[in-house]
Amino acid sequence: MTVKSIFRHETLLALLLVAVLIVLSFQSDRFFTVSNLLNQGRLMTEIGLIAIAMTFVIATGGIDLSVGSILGLTAILTGVFWQNVGMPLAVAACAAIAVGSFAGFCNGLIITRFNVPPLIATLATLALYRGLAEGISQARSVRGYPEWFYVLGQGEVLGVPTQLWILLLAAVLASIILAYTRWGRTVYAIGSNEVASRFSGLSVEHTKLALYTASGFAAALAGVIFVSRVSTTRSDMGTGIELDAITAVVLGGTSIFGGRGTILGTVIGLCLIQALKNGLSLAGVKGDGTIMLIGAVLILAILASNLFERSGTR
């Protein structure tokens, strides 16, 4: 272990998280309780799933702005497939997730086949998918789901919120894939130098296609969990969630230009954001004040890590 690795972005961020947790637990005795923390985990899941997939996408040098719209579309479709089409709810949810994954696949297709920059491609599909959600829902919401469906978003397994298990599983799997497998190496290689990756015989197009599909899948899964958590569907669900997820990923040390980043960093980033949101609201700061603070933390964290990096290498 060299001195430099101690100053890695993730380490700094983890220290910051610990400091924030300590300060917040002094601010309010309701903060550092098991039930509160688990509840925060519940609230974090949707952004978390999206951010984990987004880490891969950003590490290849891409971006996916359409995830919030895919989330909304999936939520609407779950309700429509179940109530209007008459599918059994489980089938409806799976079908909706399949459509969401397909939406992600289309992003990948536009990006790889037509060489559209990811920012533009997903900006366009952000409008398209949200538009489809609005058009299909016609501003109607679907409620009254069977009890078992709420287990996903409101229930618990072994005393821990159901969706938190999903998030944990996703985080563990994703970090293993990114850090230790050939696929993970390919992701970093593409993000660092796409042309050289292609010249080295790596399957750049397939990898990207898979990643945007995975991003769509994560957003779709988050959509179904969202519906189960709030018991209803609305076409504006997930609006702006893409910026929250990107914030978590970038805060977690993933370079927006690609080639660098870890799932651990993203998870710490997520926890930091959620802790700030919750802790400050318990301490009496209005919800919007915390949004401000998150913005400031994002800029300062990147600024600090830029300064460390510069003094480290040159």
Partner: protein, 334 residues
């Protein structure tokens, strides 16, 4: 070293045009602008045939005047993107500036103070962003993502979500007319032309293209890239301020929120108008045309009786089609 043939590339024959291939050059330099313009014209013709009320003065005013603020904001955004950066916080900025402007107007300050304040504050806020991008070397998307949170959070925590009402009538410049035309339309046209000329005929404007096209080469050419980056963000802030004046004065009240995803609408207008997201190419004329195109599509759908719920889906589809068409056109050229 004779000066012969300077107006005439040696191999091409002389034609009736002032410069041979002028038309071809127009198409190659303003290709995307022409695509958007053609789309607007075609849309007007088709929709008017279906429903002649489409070109009524009332409707035209609502199409052009109601969206002028987006076009004005897109001018600044185009400059930022041409320089190779991006700003995802402009929507939140306009919200904050509108509240500042409205508060000053209601508090009884002279209207010109209420009008100038957003321009100055916009410049100040975006200068800070520019400094973080240029000197602290944080990618602009990260800085503006942070700025988005700060501005959005700040706006709601200060206003508490209440609307500002009781605005003095003389403050509401967007509702006034000049030479029979609504002020926002005049502002949009004049600002677009001025900005386009400035981008084409000033050394400053050209240096923005240089920085966006090849930052390393720009530095070696002696262009002060850092200072220019701060300046372009400041100018973008000024345009956001001007956009704010048009946005905040169109109704009797100022809401504490702006249309959702306003920043994405503005960015989309720039990009559909032909500004490359990679920097270095595009014009502000394109972004204004694209804004008009979106507004026309929105209005047209209502006139041909498409349900309002499907509006965004259709707009999304059209954006996607434009993007793909542009990519195919570029591939054909290469």
């Amino acid at each position: 070293m004779a000066m012969t043939g300077i107006d005439l590339p040696p191999v091409r024959p002389r034609t009736g045009l002032q410069r041979p291939g002028a038309l071809r050059r127009l198409v190659s330099d303003y290709g995307q602008e022409l695509v958007v313009l053609t789309a607007i014209v075609a849309l007007f013709i088709v929709v008017t045939m279906v429903n002649p009320r489409f070109i009524s003065t009332n409707n035209l005013t609502s199409i052009f005047a109601g969206n002028a603020y987006i076009a004005v904001a897109a001018i600044g955004m185009s400059m930022v993107i041409i320089t190779g950066h991006i700003d995802v916080s402009v929507g939140a900025l306009i919200g904050v500036l509108a509240t500042i402007s409205g508060t000053l107007a209601v508090a009884g300050y002279p209207v010109w103070v209420a009008w100038f304040a957003p321009v100055l504050v916009g410049m100040a806020i975006n200068s800070v962003i520019g400094v973080l991008v240029a000197y602290a070397r944080i990618p602009s998307i990260v800085v503006t993502l942070g700025a988005l949170s700060i501005l959005r959070g700040g706006l709601i925590s200060v206003t508490g979500g209440t609307w500002i009402s009781g605005l003095p009538p003389e403050f509401l410049i967007a509702q006034k007319r000049l030479l029979g035309l609504p002020v926002p339309i005049i502002a949009m046209v004049v600002l677009t032309i001025l900005a386009a000329l400035w981008m084409r005929y000033s050394a400053f404007g050209r240096s923005l293209y240089a920085i966006g096209g090849n930052p390393e080469a720009a530095l070696a050419t002696g262009i002060p890239t850092e200072r220019r980056t701060v300046a372009v963000f400041a100018i973008h802030g000024a345009f956001a301020g001007l956009a704010t004046i048009l946005f905040a004065t169109q109704l009797q009240v100022i809401q504490s929120t702006v249309p959702p995803n306003l920043e994405l609408t503005v960015i989309t207008a720039s990009v559909i108008g032909g500004v490359s997201i990679l920097g270095g190419t595009g014009t502000v004329i394109g972004s204004t045309l694209a804004t008009i195109l979106f507004a026309t599509i929105g209005s047209a759908l209502i006139f041909v009786n498409v349900s309002a719920y499907w509006l965004r889906a259709v707009i999304g589809l059209l954006i996607l089609a434009t993007v793909l068409a542009d990519m195919l056109r570029r591939r054909g050229r290469a």
